[in-house]
Amino acid sequence: MIKTEKLYKKYGTLEALKSLNIEIKSNRLTYIVGPNGSGKTTFIKTILGLVKPTSGNLFVDGVKLNGTYLYREKIGYMPQIASFPENLSVKEVLNLLKEIRSENVNYDEELIRLLKLEKEYEKRIKNLSGGTKQKLNAVIAFLFDPPVLILDEPSAGLDPVSSSILKDKILREKKAGKTILFTSHILSELEELAEEIIFLLEGSVCFSGGKDELILLTGERNLERAIANLMMGQKI
């Protein structure tokens, strides 16, 4: 679904991505992991076209990215922190996005109901709490029923109830055949969700493959320990 060829990105003198060759499979839940500053967010942002690679190629669903934007119809993105124009109401923000993506009319509004966001509809964004904004953020990612979901730290800032609602939603979407890419620092979450793991270290791929494969390679009991070991610098 998403494929990179020698993807390379340099900020000034800092090499953020060093010639990545990654393939993210369709209909799988892929988890991107790595210590802070390993290039996770930069990688996600290159997929979204927010960051332009210095060299190398990136394909989303067979489409090569170079200044194109229509491919993003296929992607739902939930950023780590979201902000919206503060004087618009929740309803207006949703309408704005619906109008921008007017080709897409199959709305998935399940999360609005589950996260009880209807009662906030008329509120201005500036009067929302951080957690409510994050809920809105989640709703937007799923709203257009896209085949690819990119979730950057989806449960950060959500209360436990909302967080588990979101987790269930992710699992349902996975079953429905979506390709899901996500990052998280909550290791227990991975145990439940992840199928494929991509471990980034200083801009290079350190491990890429199935969950069980990683556990086997590190010789640990579970994924949590295997990842922790990798972060501490264990070689595989």
Binding site: Y11, K45, L48, G49, L50, V51, K52, G67, Y69, L70, Y71, R72, E73, I75, Y77, P79, I81, A82, S83, F84, P85, E86, N87, L88, E92, L96, L97, E99, I100, R101, S102, I140
Partner: protein, 263 residues
Amino acid sequence: MNALKFIIKYQIHDTLRSKWLIIYTLFFAAISYGLLSFTNESSKVILSLLNINMIIIPLASLVFGTIYLYNNSDYIILILSQPINRKTLYLGMYLGLSFPMALSFLIGTGLPVLLFIRNFKEAGPVLFNLFLGGVFETFIFVSISFLIATLNENKMKGLGLSIFLWMFFSALYDGLILITLQIFRDYPLEIPSLVFTILNPVDLSRLLVILKFDISALMGYTGAVFTQFLGGGVGFAVSILSLLLWSTLPLMFGLRSFSKKDF
């Protein structure tokens, strides 16, 4: 094109509701009403309004514009992760801020003038140029502020640059010209001073009004030269053309660097 329409629509919604815009409108209304109540002489009022506008509009446009882009950086990321062209978003935000600001200037200054319209019987064209100049200033300085904010990641640096640019165009510039003309006073300086004027959008908008007046000599050296050299019709055309260039060039550079930028 549809997406552009929606971005502008929502941006205008957002801007129209902001407190700053209301204060901005009220400020213009208070100043114009005050000036109009003091005197019946329309030319005095127009000149005072002109001087105030040429200071306030560039400052407000530069500061609003820069802060606006910085404050909305997360929102920009959200919209750019949708299937939308970067240029569409940039243009949408630019128009979505410039239109309400220009409108707020027009309403703030226009309503008091309408109240006292009997004082302005013969001043129609001058008044029109005053408003035209103000609208141009808004579009020009918002486009410059967007360019500054796009090129500078650092908020403080961007804001500082905006304020410096404002000081430069509204105060320093005329001083520098005077010094230059003083140094080279033995040479014919009509053409250079014309060029100097065209290079400053604040002077250009001022000229729009001055060209309609007979008091150009009172408004600084550049104004005097411009009137003398170009006279009415041609002078007006040249200043409009230069103002158009001033509003489109920064916008185009901004669009280009916004398209290449990493978020």
